[in-house]
């Protein structure tokens, strides 16, 4: 459930960012997974699919960068680097 709460926070920001930048459907999300975040890319995608259902980001392709640096100040967390939107 830790992941669910984190994912909710992340989804709120993704959809808000899309809205602030002209709206449209989110077709891609690029994330950075901290070395101590306990996410694997596959596990992250599963949670993303659940959290994005019914939102503008449903069906978005997720790509990940997996950090191995446990000393990074954000190693415990997940960072959304960019999103791709499609409108029109």
């Amino acid at each position: 459930m830790h992941e669910a709460k984190l994912m909710r926070d992340l989804m709120a920001h993704i959809t808000a960012s899309a809205e602030q930048n002209g709206g449209g459907r989110v077709t891609g999300v690029h994330v950075w997974l901290g070395a101590l975040s306990h996410f694997t890319p596959a596990h992250f995608v599963e949670h993303f699919e659940d959290a994005s259902a019914g939102t503008a980001a449903e069906g978005a392709a997720v790509t990940s960068e997996v950090s191995t640096d446990a000393r990074d100040p954000d190693a415990l967390w997940v960072r959304v680097l960019s999103i791709t939107t499609e409108s029109g």
Partner: protein
Amino acid sequence: MAVETRTIRVDYLARVEGEGSLYVRFRDGALEDVRLAIFEPPRFFEAFLRGRALAEAPDITARICGICPVAYQMSAVHAMESAAGIVLGGQIRALRRLIYCGEWIESHVLHIYMLHAPDFLGLPDAVQLARTHGDLVRQGLRMKKIGNALIEAIGGRAIHPVNVRVGGFWKAPAQDHLHALLPDLRWGRDAAIKTLQFVATLPTPDVEQEYEFVSLRHPHEYPLNEGHIVSSGGIGITPQEWPAVFEEFQVRHSSALHARVKARGAYLTGPLARYSLNFDRLPPAIQQAARDAGLGETCRNPFKSIVVRAVETLFAFDEAIRIIEQYQEPTPSFVAVEPRNATGHAATEAPRGLLYQRYDIDGEGLIAHAQIVPPTSQNQATIERDLWRVAEHGQGMVDSELQALCEQSIRNHDPCISCATHFLDLTVDRA
């Protein structure tokens, strides 16, 4: 109309804050109240399961927890087989024990290195631990990865495995596939000894608590999947008798259920209880390693739970190696389970404690009622009692110091609550 595609730089850090809260009230120099609230969304899993086929239970219950999905699967399949009157043996039984070893390794190592060790060194989190003890954290990460690899080899996925089914496994791993894990597991066993030696040096308060310990006990083995439920207070029952002896109840201040021994009160499940009730079931070499780390045959100091967890990590590596060395692929990989109108119960040992499940199954194999009692709810009342004692002791501390001690006390017991309480919202009412 032309479709416009845009890539937007976001660079947003997602994090979790304020999932747990602790309220402490002092009046006229005396502690009056301690309330721990865990704000988890209601899970509704028991309701999800109603009307679903019994075969779906392992996949649905695995979704309850990303740290201990195997525990939920194991209790579910054993409960379903109990309802069907089936007891599995041989290599299917061994594989179930093996996948549980993988879960104990990844969960215990996560708890020891990422959540608990920083407390003892006065560090805020694992990131800071990585800066001061880089080699140690790298060792922990590799150990955890080996536990996950073991789960993946048997379960098909490292998190929320999909290969577990009622009656066995959808597909048994090939012997050479498991043998390929042995070099890493042997490295992990050595690393577990080093881990035990490290945590034995951590400074711990010299306290002993009067817990009623509750765990499984098996005639021959350190318990994972099977055994009677026993306690230091004299309980000795089958899992079928859990509802007659224990009960869940609600408290006003938390959405998480509490549990108690009927007519008696709070109890503790988890590593301290398992170890203290089953020391004689550990292999002699691991008993000796525990003694070398300063433990006796029982342990009632909650701050020493990190040492007990390290003993169990060593046991899990050792047991995984033993099982794989004797492993032969079972054919078939499952036995068919014919549904019948019955109730099934099971209790297994999740890394953080006893996990009980009960299912009423109808004649068509559909779940009519499900009850899932995780260790978190069973330990909640005891954790509050620990916090009460900590708050009494820490009355003169500044709030930040008291908060650190309270968080550490919670992390003595439970990695799941630990996630929440790394961001504990403490209110000290001294008015």
